[in-house]
């Protein structure tokens, strides 16, 4: 237990966070690339055709993991927002702001791939349906958090606290997205997989396996990209600190 508490405290300090997590980058990237290649190859070329949707269902292998990530990352942003707002923890600020562009990108991918799936299945690229509209609102929330930070960038601590406030308020949108297909009449199908109910929509393991692999790949990719961006955030906001000079010199191989 002591080791876990010690690790938690170490991760709260920017120099320790930077030092510990820089060793995670390469394994995370390699896992993400390897699993993405495996998931896409299996999903696109070896998974069986769907009896109703034919080959068009293969969009699921990018659409669903991206949709899960868009919500997962916002939840992380919200939690880090609360930590930032209440305890003013610098590492939480870094993780929060590092996650924003990645989450926005996954949300945009969800919307675009959803449109590309919608056209052949529903006959339209877009409908102001509850699921699609709430997902679009999520994209606006990401833009709002980034915009709020950018507006006060000269004072990063204040900017992070205001961005955290927007992020916390936006958390209310997550259950709306999740349950929109149950609460309102929707052309969007219900969840393919749920944590409590297992696989509701996909019954073939040959279809489910590449989907789960892609879900795992996007998680590893997020950790890689988030850590890279969080490192950049910490280097930038702590530029005057001694540890930054040492870290930068170490990176270039010269003595500080």
């Amino acid at each position: 237990m002591n080791r876990i508490v010690k690790f938690y405290h170490e991760m709260g300090s920017p120099p320790s966070f930077y030092r510990i997590t820089q060793h995670w980058l390469m394994p995370m990237l390699l896992l993400a690339l390897g699993l993405t290649a495996y998931g896409l190859i299996e999903g696109l070329f070896f998974a069986p055709k769907d009896y109703q949707q034919g080959d068009s269902y293969r969009i699921i292998f990018v659409h669903v993991p991206a949709a899960w990530m868009s919500m997962f990352i916002y939840a992380i942003i919200g939690i880090c927002g609360i930590i930032t707002f209440v305890w003013r923890m610098k590492v939480a600020e870094a993780v929060m702001m590092a996650s924003v562009p990645i989450g926005a990108l996954f949300t945009a991918v969800t919307l675009l791939t959803g449109m590309l799936w919608g056209k052949p299945m529903w006959g339209t690229y877009w409908d102001w349906d509850a699921r699609m509209t709430s997902q679009l609102i999520l994209l606006f929330l990401y833009i709002g958090v980034a915009g709020m930070y950018a507006a006060y960038e000269e004072d990063p601590r204040k900017a992070a606290r205001l961005a955290a406030l927007v992020a916390i308020i936006g958390l209310v949108n997550l259950p709306i997205i999740r349950y929109s297909v149950y609460w309102w009449t929707s052309i969007h199908q219900t969840s393919s997989i749920t944590l409590t109910g297992g696989s509701e929509g996909i019954h073939s393991w040959d279809m489910l396996r590449p989907l789960l692999v892609m879900a795992l790949a996007t998680k590893f990719y997020y950790i890689y990209s988030m850590l890279t961006r969080a490192h950049t955030y910490l280097l930038k906001t702590e530029a005057k600190k001694q540890w930054v000079a040492q870290a930068v010199s170490k990176k270039s191989g010269a003595k500080p």
Partner: protein, 51 residues
């Protein structure tokens, strides 16, 4: 070989989606790395000026 890439009448939609996903990840990867390089460059310049 081409049969493998054939998605019936859904070619545009399936390959378009894969393209969107791959382009997004490449874009994210390159912006993350380039902004880090830029910040490191600025910090190095500051250190040099101090010395």
């Amino acid at each position: 070989m081409m049969e493998l890439f054939d998605m019936g009448k859904y070619d545009f939609f399936v390959w378009g989606s894969i393209g969107v996903f791959v382009v997004a990840l490449v874009l994210d990867l390159s912006t993350a790395k380039s902004s880090q390089k830029q910040v490191i460059k600025q910090i190095k310049a500051k250190i040099r000026r101090k010395q």
